[in-house]
């Protein structure tokens, strides 16, 4: 399951690193801080660029709007001009004698009609002069473009011509004020000419006004389309910048996340004791350095691990050899002592027999020391494999009690045994549990003075079996409670008992812990000690 997950992550990592952009970013010989700085500054610059572009687009739009304004002013002026010209034309048209007579055929007498006609012509003179004056060069409030100017010049000259025609040719034909008549045949051609001029004038002014209006319309249309294209450009650039920034961010982060994931995988593997792999980080930044250091650490750990294994193997071989080499002379020491002690080669006196016994028991002590040291070394080297089988803990306890009872009786110590009925079969390594039981029992008997008592009890509760060995010995001070389970350690109160290897409790603790159990001590100085070990009761119920 874990392997599956790891391979998935590894695959993912490879896929990412396969991306040429990510690879390229990863391989940049720049440190992470600089990369991040460049990415942030780059993103900020993109933002600034987008902002500036927006500014420019807005400015242009504003300029275009502003460019319409003078045009509009011009248009207003021109349309006024157009209105004046139309008015002039209309007035002159009205004043054509025939028309006037047609409108008012018999209503007014000829004198009145003449007066009226003269007033109209005088008004027309005034109007034509005003048009001429207002369109003369330099009279306008703005500078007209060249094409406009030409037309304006035409208008000016026509207006002048008209006013001169009216003043010099037509008006004098009215004669004396009392005999005013507009019905003079003489007047007709002049009047037709004047009317033509007024019509031209109006036509020119209209052209001018229309041209300007068209220009405004064109400009507005152009503004609208360039606003649209500016908007498209702005949105496009902004979107592009966004995508670019995101892409940069993604590529940059993957160029970092990929290596971090791979380094993490390798570290997890190292943590679980697998030193076989290396992590490949192409980055030439801090992550690359981190990857290289992880690899170096991995190699160093693998080297140390191999060395340790080698050392452990050497240790085991050394211990086996030591055991062999110590046992060989011990064979002669104990063997010859026994030959002498059994008087196979002649009688020995009492003192000699006692010394021989001492040699034999010391030899045997040495032998058990060798055995315990070897056992302990094996446990510590992790070379002990428990032979777990169901066995009767009750029987093991009974046998242990029998084994120490003889000696206990000799020393005046009473041994009591009581076990709950449900304490019987447990799963465990029988030989080693027996070793633990014997060790605790012999310790208890050893440290209990004559007249004392060793109380062995076994109970079953909360899924575990507890065996307690209580004695009425000197007790153990609290500060010694932990130390007592270490190798070659004795409590203050135990000093003086030279017997024992000093390894029994250390071994017992390790054996119990190998079973997933625990061992502990409760004691009070002067009131004895109770050693208890607990084993998981497992599935084997009695």
């Amino acid at each position: 399951m874990v392997e599956e997950q790891e391979s998935r992550v590894a695959r993912e990592g490879r896929r990412r690193i396969g991306d040429p952009f990510v690879r390229a970013i990863a391989r940049l010989p720049v440190n992470v801080r600089t990369k991040l700085l460049v990415a942030f500054v780059g993103t900020s610059l993109l933002l600034v660029a987008v902002g500036l572009l927006g500014q420019v687009v807005l400015g242009r739009s504003n300029d275009r709007v502003a460019s319409v304004r003078p045009l509009q002013k011009r248009a207003v002026e021109y349309s006024q001009l157009q209105a004046q010209a139309r008015y002039l034309r209309n007035v002159l048209t009205v004043n054509v004698a025939t028309d006037f007579n047609t409108v008012w055929p018999d209503v007014a007498p000829p004198q009145i009609r003449g007066k009226y006609s003269l007033a109209v012509d005088l008004f027309a003179v005034d109007a034509a002069r005003r048009i001429g004056a207002s369109t003369a060069a330099g009279q306008l409030l703005f500078t007209p473009p060249r094409e406009d100017q030409k037309m304006l010049d035409v208008i000016t000259s026509k207006a002048d011509e008209l006013s001169r025609l009216l003043v010099e040719r037509i008006i004098p034909l009215y004669g004396d004020r009392t005999t005013i008549s507009n019905e003079s045949e003489e007047m007709r051609p002049h009047r037709a000419h004047a009317e033509g001029l007024a019509s031209d004038l109006h036509q020119e002014a209209s052209r001018l006004a229309n041209r300007t209006t068209d220009e405004i319309n064109r400009l507005i249309a152009r503004n609208a389309s360039s606003f649209e294209s500016s908007r498209v450009l702005f949105i496009g650039v902004a979107a592009g910048a966004l995508v670019l920034a995101l892409l940069l961010g993604l590529v940059l982060s993957w160029s970092m996340i990929g290596p971090i994931q791979r380094i993490d995988n390798r570290l997890a593997a190292i943590a679980s004791g697998d030193f076989s792999g290396t992590v490949e980080v192409e980055n030439r930044d801090e992550l690359g350095a981190l990857g290289a250091n992880v690899n170096r650490m991995n190699d160093e750990l693998r080297r140390l691990y191999t060395e340790l294994e080698e050392a452990s193997r050497h240790k085991s071989e050394f211990l086996a050899n030591m055991s062999h080499e110590l046992r060989t002379p011990l064979n002669a020491i104990i063997g010859f002592s026994q030959v002498l002690r059994d008087e196979m080669v002649g009688s020995v006196n009492e003192k000699q027999a006692e010394y021989l016994d001492d040699i034999i028991s010391s030899g045997n002590h040495l032998l058990s020391l060798i055995n315990d040291v070897l056992d302990l070394s094996k446990v510590e080297a992790g070379q002990v494999e428990l032979e777990v089988r169901p066995f009767s803990l009750r029987e093991a306890l009974e046998r242990g009690v029998v084994m120490v009872r003889e000696r206990a009786t000799e020393e005046g110590v009473r041994v009591a045994f009581a076990a709950d009925p449900e304490v019987d079969v447990v799963d465990g390594d029988e030989r080693r549990i027996k070793q633990v039981i014997f060790n605790l029992l012999s310790n208890a008997v050893k440290f209990t003075p004559a007249g004392g008592e060793v109380d062995v009890s076994a109970t079953r509760a909360n899924g575990e079996v507890r065996v307690a060995v209580a004695d009425t010995g000197p007790g153990i001070a609290p500060e010694d409670w932990d130390r007592i389970f270490e190798e070659f350690q004795q409590s203050e109160t135990g000093v003086g008992h030279r017997e024992g290897t000093g390894l029994g409790l250390a071994l017992s603790k390790r054996y119990v812990e190998l079973h997933g159990g625990r061992i502990w001590l409760e004691s009070e100085l002067g009131h004895g000690s109770t050693f208890t070990f607990a084993l998981p009761a497992g599935s084997s119920t009695s």
């Binding site: 086996a320 055991s323 062999h324 080499e325 046992r327 060989t328 002379p329 011990l330 064979n331 002669a332 020491i333 104990i334 063997g335 010859f336 026994q338 030959v339 059994d342 196979m344 080669v345 030899g363 032998l367 070897l374 056992d375 094996k378």
Partner: protein
């Protein structure tokens, strides 16, 4: 004394002396070899009633010597006991599995040692 003949294979001089003296003192006759090769020669020549075989020997080790004795039809039926200072947990089972008829660890308890020897000699006589 009928005195069964026992071949003791042992490279340590003092241990050899101990086994020899104990066996002689209790009425056995002994043959001595200090190497595996020598043991095979002597065994095939004298056909002893029992072989006490040390394991760690200068030339071929006790296990190899046993296999050679068993390979030779004349010596194949001679009981062979492993008599060794290799006495770590599992060693007894290992040697019995190799084909030894018995296993005695050093240092020996002289009485138990004699008991084992007698047991295997009687087995052969019986």
């Amino acid at each position: 004394m009928t005195g069964e003949q026992i071949l003791v294979v042992e490279d340590n001089e003092k241990n050899m002396k101990l086994f020899r003296d104990v066996l002689v003192a209790t009425g056995f006759r002994t043959l001595e070899a200090t190497t595996g090769g020598e043991a095979i020669d002597i065994a095939s020549e004298h056909m002893p009633d029992l072989v006490l075989m040390d394991i760690q020997l200068p030339d071929l080790d006790g296990v190899e010597a046993l296999h050679r004795l068993r390979a030779d039809a004349r010596t194949a039926t001679i009981p062979v006991l492993a008599l060794t200072a290799q006495a770590m947990r599992g060693d007894r089972e290992r040697f019995l599995a190799e084909g030894f008829d018995g296993y005695v660890s050093k240092p020996v308890n002289v009485r138990e040692f004699l008991g084992t020897v007698r047991e295997h000699c009687q087995g052969r006589v019986g």
